[in-house]
């Protein structure tokens, strides 16, 4: 381990020229980051139905001896759906693996005033220190060609919205999350994009995952699974208000907390997450620790609750993933029937969007988020998807606009 008495810049990581690189936000501050690279073993899947991956996660035969030893990567939405027992049929129109995970052999921790370098190989540790000391060769963030387009115009969205609303009136679903995909013919530098996003919109679950074939840059605010020992925590976000001018925060937040639509949406999510935790937790241990707190981000306010439980004995990673994912805040409720409706109504598959990124340690600890507020970088194109919950008293105009607002922090990267 090498400790530097200063915090390096995210841009300096570009000198590593890593094929695969992941950055995860950890801890209560949005500033502490862990950078994972030098992946020795990694795997992905050809189709979402692959199931033998669980054995890989439970093979602890080669611990790295670093402060983190385990897997880092993502589960795509369709893979999680199939594990949950819902087979999704929307066309896979982008070339991406349904999941990707790797075991990092080198780690850099960025703390408020320190940089800690760890690697399984001491020679490599010294080399990393040297590389990080080199001058940064500035790289362009983006080369915008044309403005982004969306896969749904208002008329198309409205038509989907009406079908979703009929389903609600019939009791098929109580709340359904419908998303739109924005596509920009822009080549984006993943590391530079993450650096900019981390400055403009720091978030508790912001991350970067960079591979030779694709990259995901995100300012996700939402933790779906935080597991330490047998304690498991989830922090569902439900309810969104626009934030145009922070000087009005006080009165806007007051209105937000009294808005019956937002309150009902959030209540539903709290009951849904209590349910999912109850699947894997000991009876009587599922508790709402924090209820309906407001968190404010650059363009938005959110309602967040914190729910915890104590896991039953013998619960595996697979049990946890199947109980908690896909996250209720990105499907709607009840999950199974609602996911089938989403599959019918949305024009394209979701891929990493509304899947889950994070770390799975050999000691069983887990930090997994929901992949939202994310930019997918694939060759010469960038894609960001944004959606919102449709409930009985939603209006298509408002929801359509809210989706744009949710995409804005990402679309700003393209300017």
């Amino acid at each position: 381990m090498i400790k530097l008495r200063h915090r390096i810049l995210i841009e300096q990581l570009s000198n590593l020229h890593a094929n695969h690189l992941a950055i995860q936000t950890v801890g209560p501050s949005t500033q502490d980051l862990v950078i994972y690279f030098d992946f020795e073993e990694s795997f992905s899947l050809e189709s979402p139905e692959g199931t033998n991956i669980w054995e890989k996660f439970e093979d602890f035969s080669s611990p790295t001896g670093l402060s983190f030893s385990g897997w880092v990567g993502f589960f795509g939405y369709e893979f999680l759906g199939s594990q949950f027992g819902v087979s999704l049929k929307a066309p896979r129109d982008l070339d991406l693996p349904p999941i990707w995970f790797g075991r990092p052999q080198s780690i850099i921790r960025l703390e408020s005033e320190n940089t800690i370098i760890e690697s399984t190989d001491e020679v490599r540790e010294k080399e990393i220190k040297k590389i990080l000391g080199q001058t940064i060769i500035p790289s362009a963030l983006a080369n915008p060609q044309n403005p982004p387009t969306c896969n749904l115009n208002f008329k198309e969205y409205e038509s989907i919205f009406k079908k979703a609303r009929e389903a609600i009136l019939d009791g098929e679903t109580y709340q359904i999350k419908i998303s739109q995909r924005f596509d920009a013919p822009t080549r984006l530098n993943p590391l530079a994009a993450f650096g900019k996003l981390h400055k403009s919109n720091p978030a508790p679950e912001a991350f970067l995952l960079q591979t030779p074939s694709f990259a995901i840059v995100s300012c996700s605010p939402e933790t779906i699974i935080q597991k330490e020992g047998r304690k498991i925590t989830t922090r569902p976000i439900g309810g969104t208000y626009q934030r145009k001018d922070s000087s009005f925060d006080g009165s806007v937040i007051e209105r937000f907390l009294q808005d019956p639509k937002e309150v009902a949406e959030h209540n539903m999510l709290v009951d849904l997450e209590r349910n999912d935790l109850s699947t894997i937790c000991e009876q009587g241990t599922v508790e709402i620790r924090k209820f309906r707190e407001v968190e404010s981000y650059s363009h938005l306010h959110h309602l967040v609750s914190t729910i915890t439980g104590r896991l039953k004995k013998g619960i595996s990673l697979r049990n946890i993933v199947q109980a908690m994912l896909p996250g209720g805040s990105i499907t709607g409720c009840p999950k199974v029937r609602t996911m089938q409706w989403i599959d019918q109504l949305e024009p394209c598959f979701r891929g990493p969007y509304t899947g889950s990124f994070g770390s799975i340690a050999d000691n069983g600890d887990i930090q997994l988020n929901l992949i939202i507020r994310a930019m997918l970088i694939l060759g010469d194109h960038c894609y960001t998807q944004a959606g919102g919950g449709i409930v009985v008293n939603s209006t298509p105009e408002y929801e359509f606009k809210e989706n744009q607002t949710k995409a804005q922090a990402l679309l700003d990267l393209l300017k």
């Binding site: 009791g171 098929e172 709340q175 209540n267 009951d271 009840p334 199974v336 029937r337």
Partner: protein, 201 residues
Amino acid sequence: MITILDHRDSFTRNLEHLLAEFDKVQVIDRKSISFADIQASKILVFSPGPGCPGDYPESQAIYQEMKGKIPMLGICLGFQLILEQEGSKIIRQNQVLHGVESEIMVNKKSVTYRGVATPVKVGRYHSLQIDSNTLKDLSPEFKITSNDPIRNVPLSFENLKLKLFGLQYHPESFLSKEGNKIISNILHESMEQRWKAHRSS
């Protein structure tokens, strides 16, 4: 043993944890439940779920088969399923309620609400309702025990002779502060004879 007949709802596990405060609970999908599973239970609970009772013919058949032989409790969809089987009709509500905490008008003399603190506030998740104009088609042993105070929406029933109970709202929701007491009343009543035997032994 309490058995929950599950309709793949996202609140079933909350119900399981609530019921587990009183007895062992097994959750079984409606399609894979066996007669032995039902026979082993003191009460059969029909879970909430999406859609309408007509989507679940297996559950309808189980209700008809077991009626009078074992106590049964229907929650939300389960409540509608029992009353529809008994002759009432299901309609869309004028005002759909999902995730709404609502105060309800209860019959304090009923078994379901015995000793329940008022005002009774419950968590509601329903698009559909029992058409109150069709309550007259029920046999008189079915007593409606609570209603929506503004709109004419039946919200619970009890049939003490056949030990059948139903709640349109969700006693397992964190919004239903008296959920535990209501379930306790229903379980004690449905296990009454065993209860007495247990106490006198």
